[in-house]
Amino acid sequence: MKNERGQRHNYVERGVTVGFLTDPTLCIGCKACEVACKEWNDVPSDGGARAAIGSRSYDHSGDLGASTWRHVKFVETETEEGLPRWLFLSDVCKHCERAGCLEACPTGAIWRTEVGSVLVDDDRCNGCGYCVVSCPFGVIDRRGRPTAEIIGSIAGTAPSSGSSEAVAGEGGAFKCTLCYDRQVEGKIPACANACPTDSIMFGPLVDLKEYAQVRVETLHQRGVTDAVLYDGQEGNVNGIHAMSVLVGGSVGDAAGDAADLWGQPSNPTAPYAYLAASWSSALLTVVLSAVACWLAFVL
């Protein structure tokens, strides 16, 4: 399976559900995906929650967020013989099958496109911020004030260049758009287009799923026995469109500690799971308080 860079695809017209498969065993940690994404989408510099030097190997982008839509993670570990082992993985919004952000959005700004990607319409979003606390992967964020200040004040790292002047698109929620505007043109997303080693694979989700199984199997045969597929089947998001192979966890584990190592939830839970319990409690309170008032009056 290969990224089709020369020809134009017509996934949008045919409504084909597309996605990413990221394979860390091909990644060289060059961060071309981070730069290509920002250049194509004019994403401003993420001077905000900057991971200070020394806290995360060569990863200074810190986290996905409103101004970092692709984020290469670096893990330094060791082989059995005690030789260094350096792993890289390009993280991105998961475009969940059932997306917490989409369900939380009160303005309908977040919608699912014909290719199954979850897209924030920057012209509708009024920055209410509820999607930010509804994403089980901690991806989407509101740009500019006050997220940077909040994180800065808590994590004790004042935003290094928390520039006060207005940031482009300030106040809106942002995340990876799976380059919907490129896809309308029949082009593949900017990150997959740039990736020198095709570690980021873009294509129909069905084909990616099939290829992912084959790839994990091949890796196991080749001795990369700790390779597992992280496809979001656990938890309640019913699968994710941006899958990745994970390495570095313990051999043969279900994706548990590999997910932990890479800072991914092993059991991503979109908040809709809590609706019933919370609303019922609210309605019960309404009734009880009405009764309480009645009693207070009548006695």
Binding site: P106, G108, P136, I151, P271, A277, L284, V286, A290, C293
Partner: protein, 296 residues
């Protein structure tokens, strides 16, 4: 293999902290007070019915005034917290049952509408208008339905905010998704009663309501002492977040017992307001410590 753990991301936050600032906790408090005062108005009006029409005694009038004040202030607070305030109308472009934020907006709209009508109705000027005269007979049941709707919207307004936090990925919030609506409801009820007391209404019902709220809060406090969210054990939780339960229970009960209701009517709402700020702060800390290696 050396004992050195791999430099991984297990200690990095799994979810993002809330982006809301002071306007939201204040709105939770103001909305709660306004909401519950309309509930009190409704119950008061219906409990003291006379000849098919709810009594519009001074307590009900005050409650409606408080509700209307809340109905005016709340939207301003919500809109000011938006990243793009000028687009607040987009919230009204759809009705999304699965989003507590969307439901909350419609509850607030409903509440504001009803409290507006009640304000007019309660002031009696409408009754003398010649155009209204022929419907005089229907006023009683109209007032009843208005009060019932107001009470319903009011109570929902006071409790949906609990659902707003409860239905989220923030561990400290969703782990308390059942407790939060109850807590916000009771806190609002008690605060509404206190506010009315402070506005000079001496109706003994208010003190009883305050007692109910205090008892409720004491119950919740006892329940949550044993386990509660990751926030409690987390060392980074500032001390002041432990203050609200005390204010709303002991610090309110003692003045009541000593016959100083005004003191209680100050302590309780203060505890209630502080509690909203505490839950936001705890929510942020909970997000920042949501890394898999810190999972409790």
């Amino acid at each position: 293999m050396s004992d050195r753990a791999p430099s991984g991301y297990a200690d990095r936050p799994l979810v993002k902290p809330p982006v809301w600032t002071w306007e939201i906790p204040v709105y939770f408090f103001v909305g709660g007070v306004a909401g519950m005062s309309l509930l009190i108005a409704a119950v008061a009006g219906l409990a003291r019915m006379s000849d098919g029409a709810p009594a519009l005694d001074p307590l009900v009038r005050k409650c409606v005034w408080v509700a209307c004040a809340g109905a005016v202030i709340s939207p301003m607070l919500l809109i000011s917290d938006l990243g793009r305030p000028m687009r607040f109308l987009n919230m009204l472009s759809r009705f999304n049952v699965r989003s507590p934020m969307s439901m909350g907006v419609w509850i607030l709209v409903g509440f504001s509408g009803v409290s507006g009508l009640l304000l007019i109705a309660v002031n009696g000027t409408i009754v003398d208008l010649p155009v209204v005269a022929p419907f005089a007979g229907a006023l009683g049941p109209l007032m009843t339905t208005l009060l019932i709707c107001g009470g319903l919207f009011g109570a929902l307004l006071a409790t949906y905010t609990g659902v707003l936090l409860g239905v989220s990925t923030i561990p400290a919030w969703h782990q308390n998704r059942r407790r939060l609506p109850v807590h916000f409801g009771l806190a609002s009820l008690g605060s509404a009663a206190s506010v009315l007391l402070l506005f000079g209404s001496s109706d003994p019902v208010l003190v009883r309501l305050l007692w109910i709220a205090i008892a409720g809060e004491a119950g919740i406090a006892l329940l949550s002492i044993d386990r509660s969210a990751v926030a409690r054990e987390n060392a980074a939780v500032p001390q002041w977040t432990r203050l609200p339960p005390i204010l709303m229970t002991v610090a309110s009960a003692v003045p009541l017992v000593l016959g100083l209701p005004v003191l209680a009517a100050i302590s309780f709402p203060m505890g209630s307001l502080l509690s909203r700020f505490a839950w936001i702060k705890v929510g942020r800390l909970s997000a920042m410590t949501s890394g898999s290696s810190q999972r409790d």
